[in-house]
Subunit: 225 residues, 2 copies
């Protein structure tokens, strides 16, 4: 009977964890969307789309709160041990990263509102590319967690390197533009921050990769250093 | 006997929590020090002090890991409920904020190394003031948690506003300097980021304030919006 009880308990835990993981995927989807929309709104100078990103951040915050509460309830009622506890703790940490990513997307959207209809000082090439990579990283980081896939978690390193390189390129290019034409400085500075925020989003995805590695292998390793 | 057992359990929990809280205060002290040293190294263009900040970040990361492990062990072995569980969960979240603050201090130190001995384009006034406020915020945020003090947690709002105002001032001033003299652009951009990082550190302290409010009142409120 005791064994039966512990099997039931395990099944109940798995079921509740699955529910939380579904919410996590939902949150991840919203974060990807926020990044995509923020950079699209920048490219098309669509301030109403940017305002939408800012508004929808509340949804992501609410979802974070729900998942957090769910994690605590799961720990309190099921009292998982060892690996199971780590799985919940990792989820708990991941949503902090996801929420920060959404904040950066919101920061980008706010910059779009500030630039407004003022013509862009350069055609955007690298920034949309950075946005694409970071969106993919969000998806892969969550997949790595759900499937406990070390390979996928390790992939974050290369992708993060790619984003870093693009960021440095954007940085240099914008500095050159500013020096050639000081009237571009205000907008160039805004674009510098956009690039920096995307680079930070990639860092957060890399953090998730590290968490997953720790969950699966028990080794704490800094992937982005 | 059962009552006695639960009293013993509570005492053991309190004892283990206190140990973790001491580590938290230690971590907070190191973060305050990192902020102070980073900005001092900027002011005095002391790249060896900056390098020290970068090196000591590992210590903070290790401490974060220790506290994290301690929180999980405490949850697993003591299985705290309700408020006690929330107290541990809040600690768990706070160290993420602290670690991010230390990362920003490290980012500042890296910028100091990049600027090197090149003369500063302006005497630094507001940036050291921002650093002072953020250091105080770190201390107060941790005190608010330990003492579950709502008033202290709420104080984060005004202090965060103060830092935001200083950041905007620095931003405007640096833009003006850049426009007047494009040769200052590279360094001005670096200083812009320093200011932005300090502003972010204040945001993280405000996050901790929010967490403490939630712990004490059960209400989730965004303090910095």
């Amino acid at each position: 009977m005791e064994l039966r009880g512990s099997v039931d308990k395990k099944i109940l835990f798995e079921k509740k964890l699955e529910k939380l993981q579904n919410k996590l995927l939902q949150m991840g989807g919203l974060v990807q969307e926020a990044i995509a929309k923020a950079v699209q709104s920048l490219k098309e100078q669509d301030t109403s789309l940017a305002a939408e990103v800012v508004r929808e951040d509340d949804l992501i915050d609410r979802l974070e709160l729900e998942i957090e509460e769910g994690c605590l309830a799961l720990i309190a009622t099921q009292q998982p041990m060892a690996k199971d506890l780590r799985k919940v703790a990792t989820l708990f940490k991941m949503i902090v990263d996801l929420e920060r990513m959404a904040d950066y997307a919101t920061d980008i959207a706010r910059i779009v509102c500030r630039i407004g209809q003022e013509p862009l000082i350069k055609p955007l090439m690298d920034i949309p590319r950075m946005a694409e990579i970071t969106q993919r990283m969000v998806k892969e980081a969550l997949d790595a967690y759900i499937r406990e896939n070390v390979e996928l978690a390790m992939k974050m390193v290369q992708e993060d390197d790619g984003v870093d390189k693009l960021h440095k390129q954007v940085f240099r290019e914008l500095l050159t533009i500013m020096m050639e034409n000081p009237r571009t400085i205000t907008q160039a500075t805004h674009l510098l921050f956009v690039s920096r925020y995307l680079e930070r989003i990639a860092d957060h995805a890399t953090n998730i990769g590290e968490e997953v590695l720790f969950l699966v292998t028990g080794e704490k390793k800094a992937l982005n250093k």
